[in-house]
Symmetry: C2
Subunit: 339 residues, 2 copies
DNA sequence: TTGTAGGCGTTATCAG
DNA sequence: CTGATAACGCCTACAA
């Protein structure tokens, strides 16, 4: 293959200057239809592709965007990331861009920094945010274009989120409506913005139903299996009807715990998750949860980023739309009569 | 920030030529320790970072490697990919390289092709292989350096695999030893090389134990939930002691199916998986399975790739080492006496 | 409409 | 040990 053909080769082969060839390719500048076609067909025939590095150097653009991937094991919602990326890929493809991946583990930003400082990408998509996110403050300080997926309390960064507030509120509301009056809420890391949002949603749904959530049943900071154990026991002791878990992982662990303790779902207690993903696919019984459109999230993030790169001032937003699937895990048993 | 400082700026600031600066940075060529230190400290102080594009253009290297991510939903083992990437990242980091991601959906290689043809990466790591893999033949034809993770029947490509044969054989052996004599094997896509390997391992373990597997209990091509249903029924009808599932996903579906049918694990039938991943974490009971070191796989793949890029002739290999965790899902119940 | 020349930021060559 | 100077492959005034 003519893998290393340059614009010069084409020029001399066609007896024109490389400027002409360049114009024929980029479409910029006036050029006769005839020569353009001549160049085009030559390129087609010899399967020429411009070197992105040379092009990048000349235009000081990389035609890459960087997507971060949280590096901690077991903490991350993989399916989420995956669909997100797929959404991003759709858009980058359309724009002739490619994706760089940076694994960001905790507070270790070295990978991201290298990419930014070596100018290997034109912008960044952060796939997770925390309340005091070091990646966010780094990029902000650098003035590097980025959009953050997830909630943020910082008003002047561009971020894009799913409608977690409504989704979780709606879920809670429907559980209350279905007759489960004593709901427990179990959540993880309190430094994640999302945790605060879901807590608020849980409370709001109660108020809307004219109820008050029991503070003893709102258990946050549940980060390891001991804590899970404790939380589950408390829910049972306090006779909760149903546990609303903030994440799919949490729901998974709780499920395992319950099964180990011989607690039946939903007969003894119900379980619902604020976030549905394929992680729960193999769970039994099926878990009631809220589903969001994660592809759309990635795609939208990429679109926003491209507009930023293009110099436009853009604002973050919340992507509407979610689906609640009520499953067996929250089917009210005949608990009163049955026992 | 002096984000756009060039080597020229440094040169004139220090009153030397850019050649000298370049040498001080790269370490190539003779240069006095004194000037080297002068340059080094200036760079340090002003936080200068060379432009990778300019460097790339000059050396015709990109300092990127591309990792492919299968694009199909629900078919892919995410945790695997994730750990793999983490392993790759470790090595790339060390080499001053970065990772480009290409989502390859089925036979759609356009993303990968763009990266290769526009010379955006120096090599590729394929994270999955199939018997007639289009990505493989494409890269081979292009003569582009790549290593494939997973099994392959093509002898002249560099590929790197886990010791699936031994792992699965060992698992099967231990199940047979534990007293389960009638084992069933359920597997998915027969076009995946790995499927053939696991089948062979299953058979070999039987022979080693002086047994013959029942051909009716070796059910391949189980790709959708109907097939799962059928397969499970057959296992029950034919009174299998235990089902050996080729993948974690398959194990998950089978678990769900059993639970729906009211079949108890391990009382009615046991379940084991040839591949352990966090997908099964939330499963209950815990599933016996084989665990591989996926980080090591990614890291090793990257190392091999770098050696190829460096011009070395390398050969593929099989990464040794795995762990079998026997869990509740295969605990022989007192089936004879009990019923 | 087309071509010439210079620049993007680095490395490599070859003299001093 | 150091410094001009020419690549690397493409883009873009400016000129013709």
């Amino acid at each position: 293959m003519a893998s290393n053909m340059t614009i010069d080769d084409i020029a001399s082969a066609l007896g024109v200057s490389k400027t002409t060839v360049s114009r024929a390719i980029s479409g910029k500048g006036r050029i006769s239809e005839k020569t353009r076609e001549r160049v085009r067909s030559y390129i087609e025939k010899h399967n020429y592709r411009p070197s992105s590095m040379a092009r990048g150097l000349a235009q000081s653009r990389t035609f890459n965007i960087c997507v971060t991937l949280p590096g901690e094991y077991g903490v991350v919602d993989l399916p989420f990331f995956r669909k997100c990326i797929a959404g991003v890929a759709q858009v980058t493809e359309r724009e002739g861009y490619d994706i760089m991946l940076s694994v960001v583990s905790g507070s270790d930003l070295t990978g991201l920094q290298r990419i930014v400082e070596h100018r290997k990408a034109d912008g960044v998509i952060l796939t997770r945010t925390m309340t005091r996110d070091r990646a966010v403050s780094y990029l902000k300080k650098k003035g590097f274009p980025f959009v953050a997926i997830g909630a943020s309390d910082d008003p002047d960064i561009v971020c894009l989120d799913q409608d977690n507030l409504r989704g979780c509120r709606d879920l809670t509301g429907r559980l209350l409506q279905s007759g489960m009056k004593r709901l427990a809420l179990i959540g993880g890391d309190e430094t994640h913005v999302i945790t605060g949002i879901r807590k608020r949603a849980f409370e709001e749904a109660h108020r809307e139903a004219g109820l008050e959530p029991d503070p003893d049943l709102m258990i946050l900071g549940v980060l390891d299996s001991e804590k899970v154990d404790l939380a589950v026991r408390r829910c049972l002791d306090l006779k909760a009807d149903c546990i609303v878990c903030m994440s799919d992982r949490l729901a998974g662990s709780i499920l395992v715990r319950c099964s180990a303790l011989g607690i039946r779902i939903p007969e003894d207690i119900g379980i619902a998750s604020c976030y549905g993903s394929s992680l729960l696919e193999s769970a039994s019984p099926r878990i009631t949860s809220v589903y969001f459109n994660e592809d759309a999230l990635g795609a939208e993030a990429a679109s926003l980023l491209f507009r930023m790169i293009g110099g436009e001032k853009v604002k973050g937003k919340i992507l509407e739309g979610y689906t609640i699937r009520m499953e067996k895990s929250t089917q009210m048993p005949d608990r009163d009569g049955g026992l």
